[in-house]
C-alpha cells in the first residue's frame, strides 16, 4: 500500500467531480444546440433533409459513444491536427448527445396536434414562425421530463472520457485505486459521488413527469 485512503483522498475525488460537471455541461449545451437543429431538420418541409438527418441519427445511435471518443482523439491526431482530450471529448459528446436529444425532441414536437400547424397556416405564419411561436413553446412542456432524465445519461456518459486519458471523476478513481489498492472504498466513494449528481436529476425528472401530466417518453442509455 503506497498511500492510505483517507479524507484527503476523498477530497481529491470530490475535486475531480468538478471536471465531470464541466464535461457534462459542455456535452449538454453542445448536444442541445446541435440536437435542436437536428430535431427541426427532422420535421422540415424538405424531404431530402428529413431523410438525411434521420439516417444520420440512426447511424450515430448505432455507434458506441466510446468509438466516437477514440475516433476523434486518436483518429484525428493522425492527420497532423493536434487535438487534446478536452476537444475530442467535447466534439464526441456533442455528436452523441445531439442524436439522442434530437430524437426525444422530435417526438415532442410531433406530439403537438396537427391542428396547431393548420391554424398557424391559416394565420399565414411560415414554417419558422409556426415553429418558434406555436409549436416549440408547447413542445417544451412535454420535452422537459425526458430531457432532464437524459441529463443523467449525459453525466454518466462523461465517465468514458477517462478512457482517452481525461482526468475526471472516473479516471481519478482509477488512479486512486492504483496507488491505494483500496478498490472497495475508492470505487464506493466514486459511485456515491456519481449518485449524488445523478439521483437528484432522476427524481426531478420523475416529479416533472407527474406534475406536467405527460406520458413517459422513456429515456434509455447505459
Amino acid at each position: 500500500m503506497l498511500r492510505d485512503f483517507g479524507l484527503n483522498e476523498v477530497w481529491f475525488l470530490v475535486l475531480a467531480a468538478r471536471w465531470t460537471l464541466a464535461l457534462s455541461a459542455v456535452a449538454f449545451v453542445g448536444g442541445g444546440v446541435v440536437g435542436l437543429l437536428l430535431a427541426v431538420a427532422r420535421i422540415s418541409p424538405w424531404r431530402w433533409l428529413r431523410v438525411a438527418v434521420s439516417g444520420w441519427i440512426q447511424v450515430v445511435q448505432a455507434t458506441p459513444m466510446l468509438m466516437l471518443l477514440l475516433l476523434f482523439y486518436f483518429g484525428i491526431n493522425m492527420f497532423g491536427v493536434r487535438i487534446d482530450a478536452w476537444t475530442a471529448a467535447a466534439v464526441a459528446f456533442t455528436i452523441g448527445t445531439s442524436a439522442y436529444l434530437a430524437d426525444i425532441w422530435r417526438g415532442c414536437i410531433q406530439a403537438v396536434p396537427q391542428g396547431q400547424w393548420e391554424a398557424a397556416k391559416a394565420l399565414a405564419l411560415n414554417f419558422r414562425l409556426t415553429l418558434a411561436l406555436i409549436v416549440i413553446p408547447q413542445a417544451v412542456r412535454m420535452a422537459l421530463p425526458p430531457t432532464v432524465g437524459y441529463m443523467v445519461q449525459v453525466v454518466k456518459g462523461t465517465s468514458l472520457a477517462a478512457l482517452i486519458g481525461f482526468t475526471e471523476l472516473a479516471k481519478a478513481g482509477a488512479q486512486m485505486n492504483t496507488i491505494t489498492f483500496e478498490p472497495v472504498r475508492v470505487f464506493g466513494t466514486v459511485s456515491l459521488l456519481y449518485f449524488a449528481m445523478c439521483f437528484p436529476l432522476s427524481m426531478l425528472a420523475r416529479r416533472l413527469e407527474r406534475k406536467l401530466h405527460v406520458g413517459s417518453l422513456r429515456v434509455q442509455a447505459l
Partner: protein, 222 residues
Amino acid sequence: MGYTFQFGTVLGYWPQFLEGAWLTVKLSAFAMTFGLAVGILCALARSYGPKPLAWAAAVYVEFIRNTPFLIQLYFVFFALPNAGIRLDPTKAALLAMTINLGAYSTEIVRAGLESIPAGQIEAGRALGLNRLQIIRFIVLLPAIKAVYPALTSQFILVLLGSSIVSAIAAEELTAFANTLNMQTFRSFEIYAIVTLIYIALAFGFRAVFAGVHAVLFPQRAG
C-alpha cells in the same frame, strides 16, 4: 495534410477483427439473456413481492441507474477479488453487464406489468389457471409484448456499451482495436473500421429482434 490511408494494412487483420466482433456478440447476447432474467425476477419482486424484497429491488435499480457502467465494471473487476471472487476480464465484463442491464430491464418490465389490468389476473384465476400459468400467460407475455420496443432499444445499448469493457482488457472488439492501435498506429483506419462493424452489428441485432417479435407475438388475422 499529406496523410495516406492504409486500410490495406489494417484489413490484413480481418480475421482478428471478426474474432473480436464474435466475442462482442456473445458477450452481448449472454448479457441480454441474463439481464432480462434478472429484470423479470426483480420486476416481479417489485410489483408482487413482499415489502422488503420490493424495497431491495428498488434500491438496486436506483443505484445502478444513477451510476456509470464504467464504475460498476471497475467495482466488479477490482473490488470483488477482495471478497475472494476472482474473475477473468471477460467473466467480470459479463457480470457487470448483467447487473447493469438487470436494473434497466427491471424498470422496463415493471412498466409492462403495470399495464396488465387486475381483472385479467382474476379472470385467469376464475378459469382455474395455477399461479405459474397466470404469471406466464396472463402477466409476463403480454407485459413483455407491451414493452418489447423499449426492451430491445435497451438491448442495443448493451451491445454498444460492451465496448466499455475494453477498459479492463477483455478481448472483445474494442480491446482488440486498442491493441492493434498500439502495434500499428493506424488509429483512424482501425477505429473507422471498428465503428462500421459496431454499426453493422447494431443493425443486425435490430433485424433479429424484429424477427423474434414476429415469432413470439404473431399478428392474428382479423
